[in-house]
Amino acid sequence: MESQQEYKFKVIGTRPIRHDGVDKVTGRAKYGADISLPGMLHGKVLRSPHAHARIKSIDVSAALALPGVKAVITGQELPELAPGIYQMGEIPINPQYLSRNIMARDKVLYNGHAVAAVAATSPHVAEDALALIKVEYEVLPHVLDVRKAMADEAPILLPDLRTSGTLEKSDKPTNVASQLRFARGDLAAGFKAADVVVEREFNTSMVHQGYIEPHNAVAQYNEDGHSTVWVSTQGQFSVRELCAQILKMPSSNIKVVPDEIGGGFGGKTTVYLEPLALLLSKKTGKPVKLVMSRSEVLRATGPTSGSYIRCKLGATKDGTITAAEIWMAYEAGAFPGSPVGAGCMTALGPYVVDNLQIDGFDVVLNKPKTCAYRAPGATNAALGVETVIDELAEKLGIDPLEIRRINGSQEGTAQPAGPKFLRIGCLETLEAAKSSAHYKSPLPKPDGKPVGRGVASGFWFNAGLQSSAAVSINSDGTANVVTGSPDIGGSRASCAMIAAEVLGLTAEEVHPVVADTESIGHTDVTGGSRVTFATGYAVYEAAQEAVRKLKQRAATLWKVKEEDVAYQDGVVSCVNNGQEPMTLKQLASKLVHAGGPVSGQASVNPRGVGPCFATHIVDVEVDPETGKVEILRYTAVQDVGKAVHPSYVEGQIQGGTAQGIGWALNEEYYYDESGTMRNSGFLDYRMPTCLDLPMIETILVEVPNPGHPLGIRGVGEVPIVPPPAAIANAIYRAVGVRMTELPMSPPKLCKAMAEKNAKK
């Protein structure tokens, strides 16, 4: 591997206009819901009005009799799958649970759980048909609270479920799907050595990714058993594999075309509608389109876990953390699979802790099955750890950034899960935060209301996983880059820039394409902060391969040895004879005489992942009358390895921060006693608008990732981790109350302030 230090970047680090930009500002870009095919039918899904109920019968006859209705399916028409785990690449999935989440069989497990689907000549007819389907339910007791779901007397969702990860096997039905523990050192001795110990409990609500584009799918089933799915997804190869598993079809018989995607944040890494669209298309012989309503998105796709967390930290007078004990239970939703493992692995990521014990529990309850959401599991855990560290700092009279620096992780620090960090930028972000203009500035006092400044840090991984790329040289000396990574936030641009850097072209001379499952090698999802790292790695290798071939072609033309040809900045030259150097443009036009066209391919599964650290600073103003929190100023500092396109790196940070602010202050799944989500729309599921936020300042720290030829780290996820804790800490500095429950909405803050005043 070449050292990134030797690189003098020409394209990487600049800010070209993204290649798909014009299509997206003119309305020409085709998203999944924009697809229309001749003869296309429209589907709708009937969903459970109960949180937990047995399905006694479903009568679809009246719906089928409605003019325009072409097919109705229920869970009985999906293949029955054996229990067990299927490894999709490195990701374990349970096809039986997945299938049952897509369409209920004998029981519905949450309000919104799909029970039937209709295909009709228009979406309105399909909707009318839903009202004609008669479902007889036997309502069962339900459970919505993670700790109540763990109790012995809790209603059981999945009768076959047994806790995995325990030392002793139990045959008792349970809602605890798994438990895990990380432990090292001597916990008791660690706490004994501490001068100050702080312990607090935290509760966080289930929240949604909130992408603006609802889920969609169009499927065309062909008579020869082959079929095509058009869909807005974070991973076309995953959709193919999951549909094949659920429908028991050969995966190569399904072609998945990734349309433009209107946001995902982890939520579009699985399937909901795709298998139903395929089944309805098979039944009717026509293309079928399904698009969710916003309410369906909130009620029936995968939000991230609400959680209960207990966090106890001890430190000596000089600020050294001596012990950490953390216990967390995460809501998985109706089927196992919360991100509690990642929560356990990231909670103490920014810190050196020798004595620790972290317990995590994955718990099913009657809410939608959770799915990935930006740094899944880490934000919940960070709320606990970062708030308690703030309290330690306060009690010890140490600056909150300084206590983080004293304990900060660095190269060689062992992570809670064991592996040691390679070169990381944790300390560098803390230093940059401390010397930032924001941290050095006095607190603003616009209205005379209480104001406070808070800080928090965060840690998240960088997934490697599999990626493929192809680089081909055009006859005019430009290049095409084909990848399998759907572009959610500018990754076409970053992949094109990496190819341009290697080929010595401008960013504009490289044309990036996102390909379907039959046009590029396997590529895992756009997620895990991995695309610019791993797909970028494949692009780098493919472009290197193209360069090798270009040198071969020039050697053939010049009748010299291949090793005598050099390639630099888009120019081929001959080392030791008098050949006139050729630009790539000149060489490209002559390839037909020198062995033919040039392309390079690469498929990778890179291991040199570069974890990411962030430190955020926020100033808030609290209205003591209403409990409303105003964000006055926000600065996000992050180690980004090497920012390929700094504007889109800033964009990831600003967007993740805004999501974290929403999570902190407003967003929550609000259930009534019947287990119905009462705020399943954007009016009441209140995400930040631009009026709720200030400009979000970013400071990019670049500590190159030694595991990547260009120093690239994942950057997309960690910015959502610090905001709730940073804001909680700022609120404390403003009004003296420690908020331990998300969201920190006005009623909760008013209550906390009133309780504090009552104590006085």
Binding site: R15, I17, R18, D20, G21, V22, K24, V25, T26, G27, R28, A29, K30, Y31, A33, D34, S36, H124, Q209, G210, Y211, I212, E213, P214, E260, I261, G262, G263, G264, F265, V291, S293, R294, I488, G489, G490, H645, S647, Y648, E650, G651, Q652, Q654, G655, G656, T657, A658, Q659, G681, F682, L683, M687, P688, T689, C690, L691, L693, M695, I696
Partner: protein, 159 residues
């Protein structure tokens, strides 16, 4: 066909006729009847602004307007912003400022920003934020969107 209504309207400066069911929204007519899919659906309840159009000079959520209500009206959509082969300054500034990530909210933001600048050519940052508060973006944190609109306003004012 008997239940469809004949509607005459003006779309991006062109006279347009269509047939629609009385229950179809203007959003559905634009997208599914007329094929103008640049206007996006995000919520169907008027809360996200992805379906924003300018209706007789006023910013409107096309999901809350019926297709039949477009009779005799003047509708502007994102497809009408660029003139010939030249992008509108707002479109150009959105590109330069990287004011979009996934792009699904972008048409609605551009249309809302156009409506804002039509009535207030020289807005402050707060006025931009107020004017765009009916549009949700989940990717950008709005920072670069607000900068792009302020910059476009400056360019359009010849500054």
């Amino acid at each position: 066909m008997a239940n469809k209504v004949h509607v005459e309207t003006t779309l991006n400066g062109e006279a347009v006729e269509f047939l629609c069911e009385p229950r179809q929204s203007l959003l559905e007519v634009l997208r599914d009847v007329l094929g103008f899919t640049g206007t996006k659906e995000g919520c169907l309840t008027g809360d996200c602004g992805a379906c924003s159009v300018i209706l007789d000079g006023r910013i409107s959520c096309s999901c809350l307007v019926l297709g039949v209500e477009a009779q005799g009206k003047n509708i502007q959509t994102v497809e009408g912003l660029a003139q010939a082969d030249k992008l509108h300054p707002l479109q150009q500034k959105f590109l330069e400022h990287a004011a979009l990530q996934c792009g699904i909210c972008t048409p609605g933001f551009l249309v809302a920003a156009k409506a804002l600048l039509d009535r207030n050519p020289n807005p402050t940052e707060h006025e931009v934020r107020y004017g765009l508060a009916g549009n949700l973006c989940r990717c950008t944190g709005y920072d670069k969107i607000v900068r792009a609109v302020l910059d476009a306003a400056a360019v359009m004012q010849g500054r």
